[in-house]
Symmetry: C2
Subunit: 375 residues, 2 copies
């Protein structure tokens, strides 16, 4: 299988944006194409979780192709709920690795801040098992359940969980693309209002607009996609073997490491899916980056901070950079590309191998992507 390289990366600032979703996606895509010095790709993969209901538009791959002046470039849309961006990267990867295309533009985005929060919650809540939803489960409610189980089973403390938010806000404060660019204190996190016990406001990612894009290419470039893996779990949380680890992450990581031919010991930096702060702790252990039961302590010790031994979410993560759903899985990789190329001004870490981890739904459709700087 031929190697797949990242020829260009781009993203918009995340946050409350006035531009239309096609505008945001075009902005990110043009940055990526320009970085790749490519006028037009062989194909286009578009990620959007629910453009029909968030912005009232369908046939969205064709719409973005036309909007960008690529009305003759083959385009399709890929969707796996909140991990749609990562799934689109896989689709682009498969098109290049399979020999179908020399270059693929992958672009994902979402626009949500114009809708009332209860409506956004309702739309995101459609990712939950219908029976659990019928009992009133929401995404934060299920995350609260997972958090309580995590605290009971592995002794993780609220202080450790809150430190994830403090760290990621500190990182976001250094990232001009982040939704939130203000640090927060541990007290502020622990005293913010309750969303779903024990989760408080500052344990949860915001509702954001934004887009991110990558150009994948068969032409060698400094960074290659070393591995991609997908993992799944039952839609229904009640059927799972464990609430305190995510099989979908474990399976995705195993597949990605197998493709890459190396394991977690070579990962220098990671962007992980901290839609809820405790999910970062679960991810660190599921990905094999931290020994079982040690993630809370490692976070409190600063091991996962920008200057620590294993920087996690240097971008600010979903917590501070923001989470425009289908943009997120791509934006994580954009951040890693910039980190590996030494272009993450103001928040640069020293890294040769990066890992991106994206969660779809309540960990039903997860992805792990490994990048390696070769040149």
């Amino acid at each position: 299988m031929p190697d797949v390289w990242i020829a260009g990366a781009g993203m918009t600032r995340f946050g409350k944006r006035q531009e239309s979703l096609p505008d945001l996606m075009a902005e990110a895509a043009r940055t990526a194409l320009s970085a790749a010095q490519l006028e037009a790709p062989d194909a286009l993969v578009v990620a959007a979780m629910n453009p029909e209901e968030f912005v009232g538009e369908g046939n969205f791959a064709s719409q973005i192709a036309t909007y960008m002046g690529f009305s003759r470039v083959p385009a399709l849309r890929v969707e796996t709920a909140t991990s749609s961006g990562a799934a689109a990267v896989y689709a682009g990867f498969a098109a290049v690795a399979g020999g179908f295309c020399r270059s693929v533009l992958v672009v994902g985005g979402e626009k949500m801040t114009h809708l009332p929060t209860p409506r956004v919650s309702e739309l995101i809540g459609r990712s939950i098992d219908p029976v659990e939803r019928s009992y009133g489960a929401t995404m934060p409610a299920l995350a609260g359940l997972v958090t309580r189980a995590l605290m009971a089973k592995s002794g993780v403390t609220l202080k450790e969980i809150s430190q994830v938010s403090v760290k990621n806000h500190a990182h976001g404060a250094l990232n001009p693309y982040a939704h939130f660019q203000e640090p927060v204190t541990l007290d502020a996190v622990m005293e913010s209002r309750i969303v779903a016990d024990p989760l408080r406001l500052y344990h949860c990612c915001p509702i954001s607009d934004g887009a991110a894009a990558l150009v994948l290419s068969a032409e060698p470039a400094p960074i290659r996609i070393a591995g991609i893996g997908q993992g799944m779990d039952t839609l229904a949380v009640r059927y799972r073997d464990s609430l305190t680890s995510f099989r979908a992450t474990q399976d995705a990581a195993r597949a990605a490491y197998r493709m890459a031919g190396f394991g977690p010991e070579r990962v220098d930096v990671a962007e992980v899916h901290d839609a809820f702060a405790p999910f970062e702790l679960i991810a660190l252990e599921d990905l094999g980056l931290v020994p079982p039961g040690k993630a809370g302590r490692a976070t409190l010790n600063g091991e996962t901070a920008l200057e620590g031994r294993l920087p996690i979410n240097p971008s600010g993560g979903l917590k501070a950079r923001g989470h425009p759903l289908a943009a997120t899985g791509i934006a994580q990789i954009v951040e890693l590309v910039w980190q590996l190329l030494g272009r993450a001004h103001g928040r640069q870490v020293s890294a040769r191998v990066g890992l991106a981890h994206s969660i779809g739904g309540l960990a039903t459709n997860n992805w792990v992507t490994l990048l390696e700087r070769v040149a």
Copy 2:
């Protein structure tokens, strides 16, 4: 690139169905898996145009995976409006041809008949360019415009257009999976009520429920996918070079023939996207199956009937088999598989090479797939 084979095919009866969309998709998928003698595929590709608004469900790939008992099988959803089924076949093909999987289950479906017709029209209308939509354009309105242009430019008559419906209803009457299993007369078609001048009710496909599925495999089987091509056009109809031929079909056909290494002269049977009867005539010429300007006459002469030299839509097509959106592109291929295997009881044609043609939106995202019986 390794060959990709069709190991199994299945579909539900199309029409007004009481079952849920997951039920319908599972029924089609189980038939395909059983035909392939496969317990579980390596991956699952799900096609649904808009499950969020048609049935109120999201994270749909995960939902179908869990529902079928494949909660550990990697699954993603692909969408290109009304051609989503064909796009999903491509995604499955790429996964096998690229060496990522040995077997992929591709399943697509839609459930629409429970909604009021104006709501269905509104949801399908989201595939139209937003500016044209803002002037009140609907899918039938644009199709009416295309039909008027076709009649003016190439002299196609309403009688020729109506004969497409008569032929496809005659075929559907022989297909136990078809939504409509009653023949219609030319007079009945030409006297049915006006939908969008000059298109009448019997020139338009119905609103249907249903699902279809394929198992694609790296293991040799009697039928292989010889070629797949995608073609695109501007979302806005007003920007097109021609209203009376579809560039998206022409480009898709060119790409598919190139991959297959043969041209239209080897095609023995085709399933084409007759959402509106005149589209079948346009498709025949765009696909190179009939010389320019001859499709109307060929249809009236019976050349495209079941017993003609080139049977078109032996299933009944979208017109009579029905058009549950994302099911359609897959159902076309299911029909061709049955035809090539000699299992299309009651409507069997003699064929070794089959062509499937699917339109996304108003011909913005089209696909052509070529099947060849090898063994």
